[in-house]
Subunit: 454 residues, 2 copies
């Protein structure tokens, strides 16, 4: 088994951008290094489903040529990135992690991919995920059991497990994931990364193979708040083919705001006490709060009306079942064998669930979203553990409560960040949830909290 931390090939993307600007490296050199490392590790780690060396090197050459001519597209120009395999990239299949779609070739890039190309990013390939983006172990029956490079022998989480693993394994500085009820933040937590689920509508989702178009959000995973800001700035913007896309607000800026903890008000939802957390998770969370208080932060207990984590999870799952069932259900008849039994049952359940339950689930999510937004009124951000547990061993049964702390932000359409907390040998993670479009403020708070020495 390889272990990653001793073999980091990559700095943060912001540092790489500096190297490129100073001529200390080239996009081709970075891309070659990444491709070599992927080639060395993929048989063991199963992080990539598709590797695209030819197009990646051509993109890197084009980036270097632009730079030589003084026509650089910005700080992402020439930075290699990788994409969760439920987001369309022209020229590569979009498998959605299921055998059924092994040969599904999109006609064009997803809207967010087009934006990243416009910013000059080099696309290395497509990343492993939990089948159908439904589940949080990335133990994929078709594309392999994805390894957690930070915790050998353990799951990277999911559904964006390949995205968390790619960053943790230093294969890329930035990876794209998708988050329906926590699918960016859970792997970020298990792999010791930073992960951002942006405000609903900020990043267009056309060209994403939806699990739930109501809850799905595309977000980046990386090693620092600055890299998340770099990525989300390129990703954000209107998408004329996404009904939920909104115009980027005037003055929106994801740069982490310089933040003093003195007087900062962090809301501590009462559900933190009602979900049974792994003791280490709870201890890391409590220690973080204590350090924040020592720096002058104010912890305010908040009750979010009607937030029963189990009920909210089941309502979100039912919506996902109905929406995925309506989108993919017809494929059960023609491609049924290509889906695992579990995923097939999930789609089938959603197709047939009675209308009154579906409508009631939508209403429950609407209500909870309102309560969450109202709970933010008197605080700067909500603070929670990211997941109730740390990365667990491959093959262990997946806990039902993995998304209990993360689903709220999807339901409410709010931005949320997972950031690493000290933990040995398994990383811990804290989560902040903020007001709509306050990504910069949230990244600033996370950075200040991360910077507190334990």
């Amino acid at each position: 088994m390889m272990t990653a931390p001793a073999q980091l090939a990559f700095d943060d993307a912001v540092a790489l951008a500096g190297d490129l600007a100073a001529g200390r490296t080239s996009a081709v050199a970075l891309t070659r290094a990444a491709l070599e490392r992927i080639a060395e590790t993929n048989a063991d780690w199963r992080i990539f489903i598709t590797i695209a060396p030819e197009t990646a090197l051509a993109e890197a050459e084009a980036s270097d040529a632009r730079r030589a001519e003084g026509r650089t597209l910005g700080p992402l120009d020439g930075i290699p990135i990788a994409i969760k395999d439920n987001i369309d990239v022209a020229g590569m299949p979009t498998t959605v992690g299921t055998a059924a779609y092994r040969n599904r070739h999109p006609a064009r890039d997803a809207a967010v991919i087009a934006r990243l190309r416009d910013a000059g990013a080099v696309i290395l390939g497509k990343l492993n995920l939990h089948e159908g983006a439904l589940g949080a172990t990335t133990d994929n029956p078709t594309y392999g059991r994805c390894e957690n490079p930070r915790v050998p022998g353990s799951t990277p989480g999911g559904s964006s497990g390949g995205s968390g693993a790619a960053v943790a394994g230093a294969l890329v500085a930035i990876a794209l994931g998708t988050d329906t009820m926590g699918s960016v933040r859970i792997p970020a937590a298990y792999c010791g990364n930073w992960g951002l689920k942006p405000t609903k509508g900020l990043v267009g989702t056309s060209g994403l193979a939806y699990l739930s178009w109501t809850l799905d959000t595309i977000g980046p995973l990386a090693n620092s708040p600055e890299d998340l800001a770099l990525a989300i700035r390129a990703m954000a913007g209107p998408d004329s083919d996404d009904p939920r896309s909104v115009a980027t607000p005037e003055g929106w800026d994801p740069t982490p705001t310089k933040t003093s903890l003195k007087g900062l008000v962090l809301g501590r939802p009462s559900v933190v006490d009602s979900v049974a957390c792994e003791p280490e998770v709870r201890a890391a969370y409590d220690a973080l709060l204590a350090r924040a208080v020592a720096e002058g932060a104010i912890i305010k207990d908040v009750a979010i009306d009607g937030w029963d984590t189990g009920k909210a999870r089941r309502a979100g799952l039912l919506i996902s079942e109905a929406e995925a069932g309506s989108l993919l259900g017809a494929d059960l008849d023609t491609l049924g064998d290509g889906f695992s039994d579990g995923f097939r049952r999930f789609l089938d359940y959603g197709r047939k669930a009675p209308g009154e339950r579906i409508a009631a689930a939508y209403a429950a999510l609407d209500r909870l979203g309102l309560a969450a937004r109202q709970a933010l009124d008197g605080v700067d951000a909500l603070i929670l553990p990211t997941a109730p547990q740390r990365a667990f061993a491959h093959g262990a049964p997946a806990p039902a409560d993995q998304a209990d702390f993360t689903a709220l932000a999807n339901i409410a359409g709010l931005p949320a960040i997972a950031f690493p907390l000290p933990g040995d040998p398994k990383p811990n993670s804290a989560q902040l949830v903020g007001r709509a479009f306050e990504e910069g403020k949230l990244l600033g708070i996370a950075k200040a909290l991360f910077g507190l020495a334990p």
Copy 2:
């Protein structure tokens, strides 16, 4: 049969406000006059389900007392209004037009009623509607067949038929209706009134007995654009108990904007040619466009991607069935006899409809809403007939296409206005659909078009 036009008891609310301010009349005098007229006509017209003389007169007396002390609450203070009987008014039952809820007494006012009380409006009582707000004839099996005072022997439309009839019959200057797929605008058209369906979220809906919380909107009916502006200004504002409520945008102003037709661009959706309209409706619409062109307006043909009026109507109906089914379905078991067979079937269908169809209907509405908002990009407003037909005789089968031109605005969350066009003996009506929160611009355009002599 009584006919109204010769017996108007009421001027526009704006004129009444002037009379009150000048001391030419009092709130008590206006309220008494209205109550007398309601008492005289209700056996024939069946416009009111609940008449509340005692509370109305007490409110009027309080208004006059405020005025005497120089503490008037604004231009609505002392103006009698009436409320569709699916909106909660404390102290009166909310029957929703069905026998099942004959004794349903709300604990408090709906949010919009609280706002109208804050503005000093006097509430005369609750208005007849199509059973469950589902349907557009207001031929109510429990509370009587509501008459159209403007077209004797004909339906006032619906579901806010009592609201249209109350204004047409000069019982009030302003009535509140609700609009799920056209339920404010269709009675406005059939009764020769002005009707406004506001931007989604502008008027809070907590305390409304929802047919579809996704599509339902509360809006006023009146005799002029100025009265609609007076009403909506008081009605608009955040509702902390409505997940779809939005903050009133800075600078939002519903006052009809002074508008020149010269150079104004009106979008004419291609579906106008695909729906079979009554010849008089089409002739009135074509004549209006010709008059507008003669004044310098530009008519631009617009195709709204994917707008099949029949499919959109059926998707909206399915969502209403599922949402109403989830809300009221349980009452079928205990109050089943209180629902008509038709309404019971409707609820039952929604309870049981398969999840994949419900989810697909939500997605179809999302897509169409996006297309409608995009179609507004190059025009000042869309212009359409309000309904494909004029008021029709009681007992005639209700056409399936009554809401074919109106449902779009609900689906897209956009404001829409119905305003009267000349027609004898039956009024005609045109409809404008505008961008979100541009109520003032839309009312200004409608006023300019209305002012063109035929």
